[in-house]
């Protein structure tokens, strides 16, 4: 994935792309509760967008390498700007949870502004661990279905 973090991006352990990945996949309730703890430090916020919409998902066929549209995915997105400062935050998650995407945008803006970085790192680390555990458990179950067919 690309990682075009600005020099002032402060969530050092995770790059910008991974930070956004983790925030989008985070447990919605936890993300909202965490963003609540940061919002007062941000000051006035201008909401540029808080809406649902659709994202077209292209797919590459494995036979002829043709890119085609698989269909559209409903997403919610939030785009905010810190009033009077040239700092923006953005969030987008699959689904229609506007509060989740707004929480993501708030954390993104905090990172750019250098606000609450230690707490953000801790939240990201915790969420990252939780997400990896879920995937790992799933993949252990998947591995147990591996089959070696024999012909005779």
């Amino acid at each position: 994935m690309n990682d075009i973090s600005p020099p002032d991006a402060a969530a050092s352990r995770f790059g910008h792309a991974q930070t956004l990945d983790i925030l989008a996949a985070s447990e919605p309730g936890a993300a909202k509760a965490f963003a609540e703890t940061l919002i007062d430090e941000l000051g006035a916020i201008e909401v540029l967008a808080s809406r649902t919409g659709i994202v077209m998902l292209p797919y590459v066929d494995t036979v002829q390498n043709t890119a085609f549209h698989l269909g559209e995915v409903l997403v919610s997105e939030a785009h905010i700007r810190l009033t009077g400062r040239n700092i923006e935050g953005y969030g987008a998650v699959v689904g229609r949870d506007l509060e989740h995407s707004m929480a993501m945008a708030i954390v993104d803006a905090c990172i750019t502004a250098g606000i609450g970085i230690k707490a953000i790192e801790a939240f990201l680390a915790s969420e990252h661990h939780r997400q990896r555990k879920i995937d790992e458990t799933r993949l252990r179950k998947v591995e147990s279905t591996r089959v070696r067919m024999e012909t005779f």
Binding site: I4, L57, V60, L139, R140, M149
Partner: protein
Amino acid sequence: MAYVATRGGERAIEQSERLYREDLGRIDKTRVDAIAKSMPYLLDRVMGEASLYAPELAALALAQSGGDLYEAVLLLRAYRTTQPRLAIAEPVRQKDLFTVRRISAAFKDIPGGQILGPTLDYSHRLLNIDVLNGADFVPEPVEQAAEPAPATQPSLADWQKAQGLIADFQSEPVPLEEIPDVTREPLLFPASRAHKLQSLARADTGGTLALGYSTMRGYGNVHPTVNELRLAEAPVRIRHPRGTIFSAGRVRISQAEIISKAKGLQLGFSATFGWNEVKVIAAASLDLASTQEKPHPASNEEFVLYHTEPVEASGFCIHFKLPHYVTFQSSLDAIRKVKTDKPANKAAVPQADAARQAELEKAMS
């Protein structure tokens, strides 16, 4: 043909809708959540045919329609038109797929191995009647492996191409905004491959199965075997305003390659939203059949793509139950006129027969 405007019946129409909804009863969040939790494969089918990935809304559509799939698909397609298109995601490639099932029926030893994943393929299909008698069915837990499976699996087709077993098609990268889109431009024939695969991705499962099955049974030149079947989750990768590409979440997808050895080894392909193996196997068979000689309709892409579009097909079918009074009235008028003219016709027929007989004899002499 023209239709007469009708009026009257407003009260009956309103009451008929009330009767429909009254029969379904109250719809609340609990019911929608229960549908979403207990019927993921049904949601997958609706989302695939609606071409909109939104599990919560698919569950709501099923609740509102009482499980009528065509109504549910129509509701989702209609909702889709109310939403702005925010972006085009990065194209999903096979190497990106968080894969939970990946098998090949054609090749036993494939790179990465065979993983059955969640399936009933080798299970007895028996109703558990005890549940109705109060004994809950509690599934046995999966015995987890010591090590997790790899999150992604290698491509079988790439290995076959490298071995020179199948043709390796090179294609130029297409800018995202230039990928053909049947929701914004008409489906014309011969269809581009992008249009064909998009149409099959949103096709009716039942229609796809019927036509695909006909090619499998011999109404076509394809004798398919599953080269590779995958169930997976695909990342929806979009661009942050600063340019960073990130995943906004994952969506369930299924993908199938069908192989035929009718003319060397050839592959057909299909993918769709959700886990719907029947659909992608049938659709990949139709993709492959469409590249062959066309002795049967199921090998004809125009026939296949037009007749498996679920909203258009179901809408056209059920529109025949709506008033067609002009057509019917004119038919009645014609029948009545024929009956009125019957005596005159009876007198005229012998004369006409005699004239034809005379013409015939003249020609033979």
